[in-house]
């Protein structure tokens, strides 16, 4: 078996590849459904209905897609520069911490200033959480994958400490949760009778902005250059360390945004279960989109659909909702292979 680079890659293939991959993932996962003894068609129909089948389902899916969109962008930007930021989960909580610190009465501004302010401090906190990994990578060549992963655990324990200690809301009846965000800082609902909030719009605007920066600006050019060929980038006079720092601040900032949308938009206060692994799921979102910022919008929606749909499927038919995680993981691996196949063809001799 030999891999042979393709001379031309048709744009159709690039769009078609992830779709094919997801079909393959669905087929593989149906093997598991078969094992549970339920009907495959019924199960997938229940999933589809639970994700998009009603107004309620649709708004729930969009609500779930909001943080995934932002953490997906965080991963997409970083991975483009081959900066492997696996710490979006921790950065999300840093954003949430900042929003809680400033948003629970420390500062009161009118809403049109308060909300942007919360997003700003959230992004700043998320970016700061990456300073140590960036420093260690640039100065000591310590692998950022391991440092960002390990920091997730540290940050989560720190949040745990704050919520059980100094930040615990005395009105919370003993639950480990912080005081609620003041009314001026709460993101307005954008649709009646739903949990859908301003965060979704922030997410979509971020995606377009990231796409614009990556595609049309010098920064974006430098980021892509460092990712594609670091030695050529150095040769062209691009500072790798500076570019990586920039990427890290953008990536951490986007993950921090996700923390703000969840605290100020969805929950209204900081809890320990603010994120059921949105940071890690963001990696899958980015991979499914082949790291394209606009593709992230689609893949965040897809993943949110799977998670929300699987929850309602597991209630309708007797299948544990962990099937969603299996489906997502297989999709990620399948997309990796399919994208490689757009660049290489396999030759058997």
């Amino acid at each position: 078996m030999r891999l042979e680079p393709r001379e031309t890659v048709s744009p159709w293939m690039v769009i078609f590849a992830p779709v094919m991959a997801i079909v393959v993932a669905l087929v593989i996962t149906s093997g598991l459904i078969l094992w549970t003894g339920e009907s495959i068609i019924e199960a997938y129909l229940a999933l589809l209905k639970g994700a998009f089948g009603s107004r309620f389902a649709l708004t729930e899916t969009l609500t779930r897609a909001t943080p995934l969109l932002l953490t997906g962008l965080a991963a997409a930007v970083a991975f483009r520069a081959r900066f492997w930021n696996i710490g979006a989960e921790g950065q999300l909580y840093c954003g949430a911490l900042a929003a809680t610190y400033f948003g629970t009465g420390l500062i009161t501004l009118p809403p049109f200033m308060m909300i942007p302010f919360l997003f700003m401090v959230g992004a700043l906190a998320g970016g700061l959480a990456l300073l140590l990994p960036v420093y260690l990578k640039s100065k000591l060549k310590v692998d950022e994958v391991v440092t960002t992963l390990l920091l997730n655990f540290v940050i989560l324990l720190f949040v745990n400490y704050l919520l059980e200690g100094p930040w615990r809301d005395p009105m919370s009846m003993g639950w480990p949760q912080a005081a609620p965000i003041i009314d001026e800082g709460v993101l307005p609902r954008i649709m009646e009778k739903s949990r859908l909030h301003l965060g979704l719009i922030v997410g979509v605007i971020s995606a377009v902005a990231v796409w614009f920066v990556m595609r049309f600006t010098i920064w974006g050019y430098e980021i892509r250059a460092v990712g594609n060929n670091p030695s050529a980038a150095t040769f062209a006079g691009i500072s790798i360390n500076k570019t990586v720092l920039r990427v890290a601040l953008i990536s951490g900032g986007l993950a921090g945004f996700a923390g703000v949308t969840e605290v100020a938009g969805l929950k209204g206060y900081l809890t320990l279960d603010l994120s059921p692994g949105f940071g890690y799921a963001g990696i899958a979102v980015a991979m499914l989109a082949n790291l394209h910022p606009l593709g992230v919008i689609m893949s965040a929606l897809f993943l949110a659909g799977i998670y929300v749909g699987a929850d309602s499927m597991s209630r309708a038919v007797n299948i544990p909702n962990y099937i969603a995680d299996v489906l997502v993981a297989i999709s990620v691996l399948a997309v990796l292979v399919s994208i490689m196949l757009t660049q290489f063809r396999i030759r058997f001799r």
């Binding site: 078996m1 030999r2 891999l3 598991l32 094992w35 549970t36 991975f79 492997w84 696996i86 140590l132 260690l136 000591l140 060549k141 310590v142 692998d143 994958v145 391991v146 440092t147 992963l149 390990l150 920091l151 655990f153 540290v154 324990l157 720190f158 745990n160 400490y161 059980e164 200690g165 890690y280 990696i283 899958a284 991979m287 007797n318 544990p320 962990y322 099937i323 995680d325 299996v326 997502v328 993981a329 297989i330 990620v332 691996l333 990796l336 292979v337 490689m340």
Partner: protein
């Protein structure tokens, strides 16, 4: 305070706990080290340890025997290793991203299967795990008997594995080929050997070690499987490989040192827990792992071909 800390070292329980905490880390670190010495970063470790913990436990829970349970966990681990090497070794995909994907897949599958087999269990069911065995004579020694010679057979096995791995890695042709695959695959190819097969084999063996390391938790240290059991141990192993500078002997020492600090942290909570919140104690393993990498970073001797896929006939 300082006296309290010193007193910890004088209790046999502390040394026994250190060995117990070290065991899964030793296997995980050795497993990761084998993969990386052959040139393949395996970030599937966290998920593979979860899969090993679940599958070994499930084997025994369904009526299997403990030792065959370990075999089963090893086979499951090797299977995920095979998957990882098909993607990274044969197809040349990014080792970072594939590894994260394998972790996602292995943990999701483990949780799914566990839920499927035991749909409603609020308290995790238990198995009869490996029991401590007393070695006649040795176990009766004061202090040392309790600290070192009253562990489970699996613990002794793990400590026997390390010298075996060192021997194979440094004294046999297989070990030489494996190390060459990670340092200079072209030279290996020139010797007429198949780089891809050697790397695949290394990743499979390494992953089997990781899975058995995970199984130690459910079959020797505890007797039940619960979600979030691995809790970052896999990532800590990846850090320990860097700390050990890719040498198995140092990896053993690193894991023991690390486990000692972890065991001390648990005991220190008892007298310092009043003025330091417990969360900060729980942070220590993760902070220490980062610190360990920083300390050793300057002397780190990476395998030269780590992260670079090998394609036959391609010049680098």
């Amino acid at each position: 305070m300082l006296l309290d800390l010193l007193e910890i070292f004088l209790t046999a329980g502390f040394w026994a706990a250190t060995i117990r905490i070290a065991c899964p880390l030793i296997l995980g670190t050795i497993g990761e080290l084998i993969c990386e010495r052959a040139g393949v970063l395996n970030l599937g470790i966290e998920g593979i340890m979860t899969a090993g913990a679940m599958s070994g436990w499930m084997w025994v829970y369904l009526g299997g025997d403990l030792w065959t349970g370990l075999m089963f966990a090893a086979i499951i681990g090797a299977t995920f290793g095979l998957l990882h090497s098909i993607f990274t070794v044969h197809l040349g995909l990014s080792q970072h991203v594939t590894g994260i994907g394998i972790t996602m897949l292995a943990s999701a599958l483990s949780f799914f299967i566990f839920r499927m087999m035991l749909p409603e269990s609020t308290t995790p069911p238990k198995i009869t795990a490996f029991q401590p065995v007393n070695i006649p004579g040795l176990s009766d020694m004061p202090f040392l008997g309790e600290a070192i010679f009253s562990h489970t057979p699996m613990t002794y096995m793990i400590f026997a594995i390390v010298p075996l791995v060192i021997y194979v890695l440094y004294k046999t042709p297989v070990g030489l080929a494996l190390r060459m695959a990670g340092e200079n695959p072209m030279a290996l190819e020139a010797q007429g050997m198949n780089v891809l097969s050697i790397r695949t084999g290394a990743v499979m063996v390494g992953s089997a070690f990781m899975a058995v390391g995970g199984a130690y938790l459910t079959m020797s240290a505890f007797d039940a499987f619960f979600f979030g059991m691995i809790n970052g141990r896999g990532w800590i192993c990846v850090a320990l490989v860097i700390f050990a500078s890719w040498r198995p002997g140092k990896a053993l020492l690193g894991a023991l040192l690390f486990a000692g600090l972890d065991a001390m942290q648990v005991r220190a909570q008892q007298f310092a827990g009043n003025f330091i919140p417990y969360q900060f104690f729980l942070m220590t393993p993760y902070v220490l792992s980062i610190a360990a990498m920083v300390v050793m970073a300057r002397q780190a001797r990476y395998p030269k071909a780590l992260l670079s896929p090998f394609r036959k006939g391609e010049r680098t």
